[in-house]
Amino acid sequence: MEYVVSTKGLTKVYGKHTAVDNVSLHIKRGEIYGFIGRNGAGKTTFMKMLTGLAAPTAGELSLFGKTGEAVKSQTERVGNLIEDPGLYPQFSGYQNLKCKCLALGIHKEGYIEELLAMVGLEAAAKKKVKKYSLGMKQRLGIAMALVGGPDLLILDEPINGLDPQGIAEVRDILLKLRDEQNMTIMISSHILEELYKIADTFGIINKGKLIQELSKEELSSKCSDYIELKCDDTSKACPVLDGMGISDYKVVDNDTIYIYEQVDNLGAINKALANADVMVNLLNVVQERLENYFLELVGGEENA
């Protein structure tokens, strides 16, 4: 398997605080990698290390198959938008892009206009960035990250501040970049449902540690629908479920059972329970949400 990014025990320590703790993560070529974690989980620090903005305290980083000192020469293939877009407020959107193009030696005619059009800012090209809305700044930040046509794009919360239409536009841009240019994209976001729509692989980080790395299919199976059954006596209900060939269920408490299979078979389950003289108080299909799964994984109770 060819990995664009591969880390082994990557660690970053600031004073006594370990921001990223022994993270081993893998990003395949041409995929969108969703990076999930709460505020302060270590997402941004990890992304900074990938882009060369911060040096790892320990561990190994491999970019495009290169390790050690050779990684430095590969960071030029990485575009980033980390924390905030990093723009000169007194300059216009055009001038900000011009600065980056000059720094990278890009003098192609119409290149800046092309980038501005891609993120829908062609009409605001001459407007000063300090007069941009938060969403416009985010979009310009994405355009800045795309200067030079990077092979790997690292975006930290790029849809922050965008309205639903803006989010949809950014989603389309990212999908287009992946599908048409085979660009590898790592993206973190708090809007997990949005991330779920575009990412192929997910990494979940908590307190600096990568606690799970899973594909979209794996996540889908974990976030699938289930039946919530509330009855008078779960000890009487369980043999009925067993008798129906249902084995994937969980007894939550004395009167509640979660059933993870035969979700479309509500009527038959209800009839079987009634025949066994089990009083059904509630029988309902529940849609497991990504947020719930995430909170369960990272310890949602800590948020309370």
């Binding site: 900074k48 882009t51 060369g52 903005l53 911060a54 040096a55 430095k72 020469s73 960071t75 030029e76 990485v78 980033n80 980390i82 924390e83 905030d84 877009p85 990093g86 723009l87 000169y88 407020p89 007194q90 300059f91 001038q95 900000n96 011009k98 600065c99 980056k100 000059l102 720094a103 990278l104 030696g105 800045m144 990250a145 200067v147 030079g148």
Partner: protein, 319 residues
Amino acid sequence: MLNLIRMNNYRVRHMTCMYVLVIIICLFAVFSVSTISAAVEEMASGEYEEYDGMVDAMIAGYNDAAIEDGNEEGVINIGIDAEENGDAYKEGYELGQEVSMNFGIVSNQPIQPDGTVSSYLAYYYEDISSGLLLMFLTIAVVLFYNREQNSGFIKNISSKLTSRTSIFFSKFVTMGIYMLVIMLITAVSEYFALWIYYDGNLTFGINVLDDFVPKFCVQLLLHIAFLSGVIMVTTVTKSSTMGITIGILAITGFSDFIVLIIKVLLDFDMSKYLIRCNIASVNLNSGSEVVNHALLVGIITIIVYNVIGCTWFAKRDIA
């Protein structure tokens, strides 16, 4: 590297505050000419006793110099805090004597007692050797340098470059170009101000051109060396306030306290190796020994500050 210099020059050309600075410097040049001209007029008419404070110091400077030199041409000192004859500072240094402490910015203008300027180039040279330009440029350079950090723009370019030292060094080169441009703008402003004031009766001073050009180059180098130090301090401390404060304190002679303490404690005269002292010591009459010494100090200082700045910048986390 060349691309980064292009980017920096683009920024300079499109930053409003840089144009504001140019206007301030032009106005200051005109103000400087009109102030000293007014003082000279009064002095020529024998009414200088009426002045006090700064102008008294100027007159004292003129009298002392005239008495000491025993010639017709006097020296007028103007400055923010001209406590004593600034010429003693220079001459003392040139002769290898102990250098007196001299706080503030001092400009020694070669104006003759009849109120005429001995030559434009001499006038201009004395103005730049006062270090006054550094006051403005320190602020401009720190603002220019730190804006890239504060805005976060640095994140956009640093990951794209194999060597981060080029980011620091490109700013040094840009600053040198900007320094030269500002010096030339000052030259033009002062020329027109003097030309208007003296109704066109102004000697360009072509006879001092041979002395002027090499010494102007040395001054430029020393000014760049000073600003390298300011950038280095700003880089290390990551603070605009610190960069500006230390820069201005150094220009106005605060470092002389340190020189004095070292002199008393270690019996070592450090002033010879300070950029500010060298800027003041190289005048149009300076011999090659003084000029070469200043040149060496300037080059070494630039190398040291840039090595420290580049190393620090390359090692630390950008964000």
